[in-house]
């Protein structure tokens, strides 16, 4: 079995799977049950001034029979008194000394407030702190959460205030509700952050009831934007992790989250630069025991490849993530249809004919039997037919040998530039 232990900026954990700061980490009872189930760490639901929540507060976005493709909430940070949470953190840490307990924190942007809360939570033995600069609703209206997280100067300043007194590693959790997440990630690094975590939830409205015209969810007939998470946000989160991982100015570990539901997605985040992952929606949907599959799957994956430590895969795919201008314009793939597997549903023909490049012909063989064939010379390799095909293996994308040497857009522009200069010289 591979070694699954992780070390994120000095925070040790028996495996890379942490519960994210959210309803699953609201109390000692829950976190202890999670650790018993196998979770390596937990980021305690955000501590701050006791606040009041509303009812109702969650909504799910289903798609095509899947019940929780996306998830939306208008819940705020903990509504339990700080002293109660601290007592439970202390008890949980005593019971599970080898598991990571990170306290998520959110207070007003004032130096003394940060000093006060950092000292209090460190006194009960947390392994690290996560500064919540991401929650998009409720607290943001009071200048906290995403309201702070969208202003790089405030991210830098508040990180610095926390670091002034912190004895444990400080992770800064970033909001995705910003154009370029590397800007705020860099601000966190300038403020002294030991790590960054991403993504928090995305501004969202889950739906509108077309009969009552109420928002979903609604509170006595009124609604407000909430935070979106779950499987639907994974591509957005993965891109943001990758952008930070490949930035030369963000040289701290990344804790990745956003739609991680299984071990495969955890591996994706880790390959793209995350030193560990945080999970919330999947645990809310299926319970704490999903971590068993995650641990087992990750173990098999590593063993199959002869990888001894999970930390060895961190960032291994980052160099493959670049800018469009560095892609080879002469690389060519085409679709190929396997007539023995194809069920002749014609979905590929329709999508290609209507919305792509009209390169799939409907033909008949000598016996009069219909079949589909790609005119490879006209195929641009867009993937659409293989995406819409309902049968695995019926359409494969095949690489063709390069007729021309590799050429990127950037190389092409440089060559054009050089030609124009030569022309002027003539």
């Amino acid at each position: 079995m591979a070694n699954l232990t992780t070390n994120l900026a000095g925070i040790q954990s028996p495996n890379p799977f942490w519960l994210a700061s959210a309803p699953p980490t609201n109390s000692g009872y829950q976190v202890q049950r999670a650790f018993e189930a196998g979770w390596g760490g937990a980021v305690w639901k955000t501590l701050g001034d006791p606040i009041l929540n509303v009812s109702s507060r969650f909504a799910a976005v289903g798609f095509n029979g899947q019940r929780v493709a996306g998830f939306n909430n208008i819940e705020l940070i903990t509504d339990r008194p700080l002293e109660v949470n601290l007592k439970e953190i202390y008890e949980t840490k005593k019971k599970f000394p080898n598991h990571a307990i990170i306290a998520s924190l959110m207070v007003e942007p004032q130096q003394e407030k940060w000093h006060e809360i950092v000292k209090k939570v460190e006194d009960v033995g947390v392994d690290g702190l996560e500064l919540n600069f991401g929650c998009p609703h409720g607290m943001a209206e009071r200048g906290m959460g995403a309201a702070s997280g969208q202003v790089p100067d405030l991210v830098e300043k508040q990180t610095y205030w926390a670091k002034e007194v912190a004895q444990t590693p400080v992770i800064v959790k970033l909001t995705p509700n910003i154009t370029d997440i590397t800007v705020t990630a860099e601000a966190a690094v300038r403020g002294g952050a030991d790590a960054v975590s991403m993504i928090n939830t995305i501004n969202s409205l889950a739906g509108v009831d077309i009969h009552s015209w109420n928002t979903i969810p609604h509170v006595a007939g009124k609604g407000a934007h909430g935070g979106y998470c779950g499987p639907a946000v994974k591509p957005i989160a993965l891109n943001m992790v990758a952008e930070c991982a490949r930035s030369p100015f963000i040289n701290v570990p990344i804790s990745g989250m956003g739609g991680v539901s299984n071990w495969q997605e955890a591996v994706e985040f880790m390959l793209m630069g995350a030193a560990g992952v945080q999970v919330c929606t999947a645990a809310m949907h299926h319970g704490f025991r999903i971590v068993e599959d995650m641990i087992q799957g990750l173990n098999y994956y590593l063993d199959e490849r002869g990888i001894k430590k999970v930390s060895d895969i961190v960032g291994k795919a980052v160099s493959k993530y670049s800018d469009w201008g560095n892609l080879d314009l002469n690389y060519k793939v085409v679709a190929r249809i396997d007539p023995d597997t194809c069920i002749n549903c014609n979905k590929c023909h329709i999508s290609c004919e209507d919305t792509s490049h009209q390169c799939i012909d409907m033909l008949k063989d000598p016996s009069g039997k219909s079949y589909l064939k790609v005119r490879e010379e006209d195929c641009v390799g867009c993937n659409l037919c293989s995406i819409v095909c309902p049968v695995d293996g019926a359409i494969s994308m095949v690489e063709l040998p390069n007729e021309q040497p590799p050429m990127t857009w950037n190389e092409r522009q440089a060559a054009l530039q050089a030609t124009a200069v030569q022309r002027l010289d003539v």
Binding site: D378, Q404, P405, E411, A415, T419
Partner: protein, 70 residues
Amino acid sequence: MSSYHEYMAEREKIDFLLQKGFKITAVTENLSGAFVTFERTENNQTEQEALHILTADARKYFSSVLIQQV
């Protein structure tokens, strides 16, 4: 005509000029495609030809030729 055939027709014109010893000396690109100027010098006489390239694949093709030239 399929886009492949359009590309092949343009590529043939490019190849024809290259085979005759022409080289790409200027490219002007705009919304209508690429205007590619070819030149060759023989016996101190400079001869010029121009092609209007419309297809994306042909633009890739002459760009690859250009990079080899540069």
